[in-house]
Amino acid sequence: MLTRRKFLRLCLNTAASATLAQMLLPELAEALRLIPGGKPPVIWIEGTSCTGNSISLDNIADPSLRTVFEEIIDLRYQQLTMWPQSYQAMDVLHETKEKERGRYILVVEGGIPMGLPESVIVGERDGIQLNARDTIPWLAEDAMAVVAVGNCAAFGGPSKAYPNPTGTKGVWNVVTNTPVINVPGCPAHPDWMVGTIVHIILYGLPRVDEFRRPTMFFGQLVHDICPRRFFFFNGDFANAPGEAGCLFKVGCKGPVTHADCPTRKFNDGINWCINANNPCIGCATPDFPDGGTSPFFEHLTDIRVLPGIETTAVTVTKGVGAATALGIGAHFAVNLAKGRLGNNLTLETEKEIPVPTDNPYSAIKDELETERNALIKIEAEQILMQQDIKQIRRLQNQGRAGKSLLSKLNPLRFFRKKNKL
């Protein structure tokens, strides 16, 4: 039997060899057979959506979409792929809600247009229009659980981008009587969607963070597991999208985005944003595409990482050390104070910041870069050295190295010498 612990391990370690479901499937099929009533019915409903998550679901590689339809879920309703149309489709929706009360999983794609309910009409029954604002909570009433897929359903996403013309909100802000699991991403990775649904079927609700995202997929920062992390340590920064190196300076939001993209990758593992030399745009963060995630190609500004925790370029680098933070933070402080970042920095899109007509930023860019890169590099060396010291201490404890070895590696002396202090 597939235990929860083993399932979680599979979810966390997909990059190791095969995809999530490939390892999961034989056991899953067995487990699903044991569920009373057979495959759980799924209703997939759209609000303010681009259908991108339906398409992303179609991109699932292992298991194939066919296996998902035939063996894992009983997809009763999905605008994009369902065979019946018109009142036949509406009949399926109503029948499922009535006959499968408490047993169906409601998947919501797209946000709920609270301000302009007329903006999304999902269908009609007996001549009465059903809008998404009323239909989604109505379907959620009798659902076992609600899975909000994609950033729009989870947090409002691009549908609520300023000025939020439709007054879109995330599902969990509207649906209160049924548990909502948020699976953000723009679009959500198919493994995240199917993995979460399977977890609900087999073990109940997954463990979630404060933003109700399953920690098995959203428990780590992109920055912390990024294969380009060492470029960051080494101060080896890309100066433009398309270059190798850490993309921090061209706007990477990896340091504030919780998702396992670096290990899972997209589209059957062939590529992912940073691997394509492109900064992460924070599509799984709660405020995407506002709240500091945009401009997409500019430095990090204040971003909500978790409730109550705001981060800046300074706090992002806290984990790295004071020098790096100083390097990046000082650069920020100076430039903000002098208004040099002017046209490149917005804290929020709703604020119109006065923009200088020329671009003084580029004139001082090179100078600052050299200075900052040097500081970051020093910091990274310190870290590496500290690792060496730990290693030496371990050897000493084991009696395999003398004290003299450590003295040769006096970090302060090394640091001073290196920097001619």
Partner: protein, 470 residues
């Protein structure tokens, strides 16, 4: 009561409905409604111009690369950014693979369920369909291909991601080129994926569509519409996107109508749920805000017109202007053209790969961009003609306008009372069973409708319908 409403019209991207007036077993009038509105043009205002490329992709989950292309081209035109050769070839390879993805999914996931019986596991369960004409052997074969398409439909998007970072919503195509490098391993993956898709298309998809065209041959005479075809040209080549591999063209009532002139494009909000400047307006001329209480409006889609007239776009228009397929204009011709275009693209991309030069630049990144500029980015996408217009002032987007292919195809009536192309194409469609008008769905789906790209409630007689209270 002679009117029948189909709501929702499933197997379309985004919510849409259609109302048809059926008399003596034939459609005599039609109203198509887009039932989804999000307001991207307002969202784009005051943002950094570079962000448009990523944000506009969020308009549509199936044709994201098309918006990336149009947006990049608009920025490149506005600021005279030249694209390196590797850049535009990689863009076309990525966009080409996304075309394959779209056409495969349109034909198998959205269109074919109208013509065959449902296999077990079909989403939503089997529908009532009284008009299945295929012999069992043919039906079963196409059904098997439907299931196979479910298994392999991820391959094309995998090819997109090879140079596009991820799909949908690519992270690679930006103004100036492509951020991904020319890597031989990636080329190898891409070629292998496209060759698998090519075999599926030539061995399965084209024979399947040919079979449909034999058993449903009356659909060569259904859904003609105005006979107006329009293409902006597809797959831009050249440092300034000056040439197109599939040529632009204009066909008016079945006759060639000179060269395409972008200045002839207008938009009209007469029957759409907006208030503002009425009348046929050039893209930047006229503001509008959502107004769902508007009497006699019935769609969120505005009415784009070329030279004052409605035009349809899509694979048929492109194959027509390229001289590859000119059999006629109908439901079945649209499906045939889509299948043939899929094959053409799967073959052409192999030639383009050989033009790539490893280790040469793929992007000409300019940041910050000049303070102001204005231009259009016109390109054909999956469903027809896609246009983005951008106006930048003071380093910010001052105005952004988008006219999508489905806005052209699914447009409502304009101020002059002219129907949209889908509405016109529905006229004359025979309907055997008015309680289950499968014929209507077939006509609409031949246009590959996508409402995500544009679009309240139907208020056909100017009366507001009651909202359901739960």
């Amino acid at each position: 009561m002679t009117k029948v409403r189909i709501n929702p019209l499933t197997r379309a991207h985004g919510y849409m409905a259609v109302e048809v007036d059926i008399q003596n077993g034939e459609v005599v009038d039609a109203w198509s409604s887009g039932l989804l509105f999000r307001g991207f043009e307002a969202m784009l205002k005051n943002r950094s111009p570079h962000d448009a490329v990523y944000l506009t992709q969020r308009i549509c989950g199936i044709c994201s690369s098309a918006h990336a292309m149009a947006s990049s081209i608009a920025l490149e035109n506005a600021f005279d950014i030249s694209v390196p050769k590797n850049g535009y070839i990689l863009r076309n390879l990525t966009f080409g693979a996304d075309m394959l993805q779209n056409h495969l999914r349109n034909i198998y996931l959205l269109v074919i369920p109208d013509y065959i019986t449902a296999p077990g596991g079909a989403p939503g369960g089997p529908p009532n369909n009284d008009d299945i004409r295929l012999p069992k052997a043919v039906n079963d074969r196409i059904q098997a291909h439907y299931l196979e398409a479910l298994e392999t439909s991820d391959l094309a998007h995998k090819a997109v991601a090879a140079f596009g970072g991820k799909a949908p919503h690519l992270q690679s195509i930006i103004a100036g080129g492509v951020t991904e490098q020319v890597l031989t391993d990636r080329i190898m993956h891409y070629q292998s994926l496209v060759s698998q898709i090519h075999s599926f298309v030539t061995e399965k998809m084209i024979p399947d569509i040919e079979d449909l065209s034999r058993y449903y041959d009356d659909y060569f005479n259904i859904g003609r519409g105005y006979g107006n075809l329009l293409s902006f040209g597809m797959f831009p080549v050249g440092a300034n996107n000056e040439d197109r591999i599939f040529k632009a063209g204009v066909l008016r009532n079945g006759q060639d109508n000179g060269n395409f002139d972008p200045d002839k494009i207008t938009q009209d909000i007469a029957r759409a749920w907006y208030r503002g400047d009425e009348g046929a307006r050039a893209p930047f001329d006229g503001e509008s805000t959502p107004f769902p209480q508007k009497a006699d409006a019935y769609s969120w889609i505005k009415a784009p017109r070329y030279g004052g007239e409605p035009f349809e776009g899509g694979p048929l228009a492109r194959m027509w202007f390229s001289g590859i397929y000119k059999n006629g204009i109908s439901v079945m011709d649209r499906l045939m053209a889509r299948a043939i275009e899929t094959k053409e693209i799967a073959e052409k991309v192999n030639d383009w790969i050989h033009e790539l030069v490893p280790d040469m630049p793929t992007i000409n990144w300019i940041n910050p961009l000049p303070a102001s500029g204005e231009a259009a980015g016109l390109v054909d996408s999956m469903r027809g003609t896609l246009a983005h217009w951008i106006r930048v002032q003071n380093h910010r987007i001052a105005a952004y306008r988008i006219i999508t292919p489905s806005a052209w195809n699914l447009s409502p009536r304009d101020g002059e009372g002219r129907k949209g192309p889908v509405e016109e194409a529905l006229i004359g469609t025979p309907v055997a069973n008015r309680d289950n008008p499968v014929e209507v769905g077939r006509v609409i789906r031949s246009f590959d409708p996508c409402i995500s790209c544009a679009v309240h409630v139907l208020q056909k007689d100017g009366t507001s319908k009651p909202w359901r209270q739960f």
